[in-house]
Amino acid sequence: LNCFEPQKTSNLKHLYPSLTVFITFLAIFFEMPTTLLIADDEEAPREQLRAALKKHWPEAKIVAATEHGVDAWDSFLEHEPQACFLDIQMPGLTGIEVAQRIAQTQLPCAIVFCTAYNDHAVKAFDAGAVDYVLKPLDDTRFAQAVQRVQGRIAKPADSQLPAEVLALLGATKSAHKPLRSLQASIGKEVRLIRVDDVIYFESDQRYTKVIYTQGGADAEALIRTPLKELLAGLDAERFWQVHRSVIVNTDHIASAVRVDESNMHIVLRGRGETLPVSRAFQGLFRGQ
């Protein structure tokens, strides 16, 4: 992880937003495919969404079709798609929670919610810039939603969800059971690790590496639960995801250091190693 050599900082910082716009225009000009993510926990509506997109937006590329919120969020970090079509009721993270996480990143992404029933949450979408479509999909309405998304991608500044709309949607948040402890098998022993003692989690292929303190000393363990699934059970205020494969306890962050325009890392309290902060999460460290 110690792969970040301090580099000379350049003066391109202020050009960064314009660069994003420029790249987006380039993409449109050269007809680089727009990347899309779709998420629905049921197979039929997911496939219907895929078919509808193929029909109404043939030049776009579906980079991920996920079956639940946890996967959707992880795939978002992996592919950084330009638009997401999210079902609302999904296990792990609801579509709204995924959208909230996306909104907290600095990545521009247009979001369309797909829901079966015109309930109170839908009223909130009407108020904001967010779009929604009802299932079963209606061709005309879906084409309209696609047009709106295309318009928003052309103007990346507008593509983020307004914070107040997300706050309105907070009411539909699903109640996750907060995780209190983790179980790690070490030989024949099953060790219980209090979540409060964890310094950070790091994804390690099929396992998750847990670095934690125990009686003043630091220890390490491997658990079977994938990092993305742990996320739903962790207190988002306390545990920050700073990278697709790293979740860190904010109590142990000493500082964040910008390396260059696109790289940043954090230094942990009383520990030698640094952890990478990916582009999506650099907004967490704005300085006040």
Binding site: D41, A51, A116, Y117, K135, P136
Partner: protein, 407 residues
């Protein structure tokens, strides 16, 4: 003869009564409401055969009074005068008490102020004036008759004679009037209390009816959730678009489910067999939608329970909860089990899911409390509905139990 609709005329009134009421209507209208209808009701009573016993009784009372006064030594005409005065006083007192202060104000269009607002004090005032006035009249009369005897002492003597002679009659009249006022007021108060009670009961009945309608609506909503229907339609739409063979099976099950729910909705109780069939259809639809990997289910138990009656959609609500909060919320899915059996006098039904654990603080939604209320309404205190963690975890177990003796 065209006549404006007279609200005081009742069906069955004869031609004379009608003519009288047409004349009296404009006078009734001078009174405020309850007195207005009371006056009409009184007239209806007075001018019918029903009043004959009361009139005879009144006649007997007055005759008795006349004879009593005569036997005390008064002459016929004097006794008649006293009786007449008593009747007048009675009528005045009854009218005053019947109208009440507000009624008087309404009738005279003038505000009544101060102590006059109290009919009792008014009565005392009238009696006091009469009592104080009478010795002067007596003195004057005597002085006219025996002008030669007039002196200060003699006038005082006549005055005292009048006071002493009048006092019992005055007291009797005042007592009688006050009695009438008290009785009238008491009767009025009692009637108002009755009326109030009737209105209260009416309101309660209305509220209960509204509550029942609301509960029925909730049953309707509980049984056919729009989320469920539209999500199922979304799957159907896709499978018909792609000519997937799953479409026809799903459509058949959905149709059967909807027909069964609308049928049982209209009933207060349904056989458990029907409810179990409904639950199986629901689970089948959900399984087709979310896949056999995510949802496995089993409905099993004693055939003996099939004939037991249960309020519709109670069991379905429990199963919907198990699927929505247990299975759909879990990343890996799980199994839903519905088990029913008879033990002694009790019917037991268990709904378990192996999806997600219950949250630490079990928050009972409207669905569960609604189920509980409907079970209690049919099976009384013998009905129990509990929700707890499934052992071994993860999962939740809802247990439903009621006594057949009550049912």
């Amino acid at each position: 003869m065209t006549q404006a609709i007279n609200p005081f005329i009742q069906p069955g009134d004869g031609p004379w009564m009608r003519r009288y009421l047409n004349w009296a209507a404009k006078h009734y209208d001078k009174f405020p409401e309850p007195q207005r209808s009371e006056a009409a009701a009184f007239d209806h009573w007075l001018y019918s055969r029903r009043s004959i016993p009361a009139l005879l009784a009144a006649l007997a009372l007055l005759g008795g009074l006349q004879l009593a006064i005569m036997s005390a030594g008064a002459g016929f005409w004097l006794a008649l005068l006293v009786v007449g005065l008593m009747v007048m006083m009675g009528v005045l007192a009854v009218s005053r008490a019947w109208l009440g202060t507000e009624g008087m104000e309404y009738l005279t269009k003038k505000p009544i102020k101060g102590w006059r607002r109290d009919p009792m004090l008014g009565m005392l005032w009238l009696a006091g004036i009469a009592f104080l006035g009478s010795p002067w009249g007596y003195m004057f009369g005597r002085a006219m008759r025996y002008p030669d005897q007039v002196s200060v002492q003699q006038l005082a003597l006549w005055g005292w004679e009048s006071v002493r002679g009048n006092a019992p009659i005055t007291l009797a009249l005042v007592g009688f009037a006050m009695g009438v006022v008290v009785i009238t007021q008491a009767v009025r108060r009692q009637r108002m209390a009755h009326e109030l009670e009737r209105l209260q009961m009416q309101r309660e009945r209305d509220a209960q009816a509204a509550l029942a309608t609301k509960a029925e609506l909730k049953v309707l909503q509980a049984q056919i959730q729009p989320h469920f229907v539209f999500n199922t339609l979304a799957a159907l739409q896709h499978w018909t678009d792609t000519q997937d063979p799953r479409a026809s099976d799903l459509l058949r099950t959905l149709t059967r489910f909807l027909r069964r729910s609308t049928d049982s909705m209209a009933q207060e109780l349904v056989p458990l067999r029907d409810e179990l069939a409904l639950v199986s259809d629901y689970l089948h639809i959900m399984q087709q939608r979310i896949g056999t990997q995510r949802l496995r289910f089993e409905v099993s138990g004693d055939d003996a329970t099939h004939e037991q009656q249960i309020p519709p959609a109670v069991l379905l609500s429990l199963v919907e909860n198990a699927v929505e909060h247990g299975i759909s919320a879990s990343l890996s899915g799980g199994e839903v089990r519905v088990a029913h059996r008879l033990t002694g006098d009790h019917v037991w039904i268990e709904v378990s899911n192996t999806g997600t654990d219950l949250a630490d603080e079990i928050t009972e939604g409207v669905g569960l409390s609604n189920c509980r209320a409907r079970l209690a309404a049919h099976f009384g205190a013998s009905a129990e509905l509990s929700l707890k963690r499934l052992e071994p975890p993860p999962g939740a177990l809802a247990t439903l139990r009621w006594s057949m003796k009550v049912a």
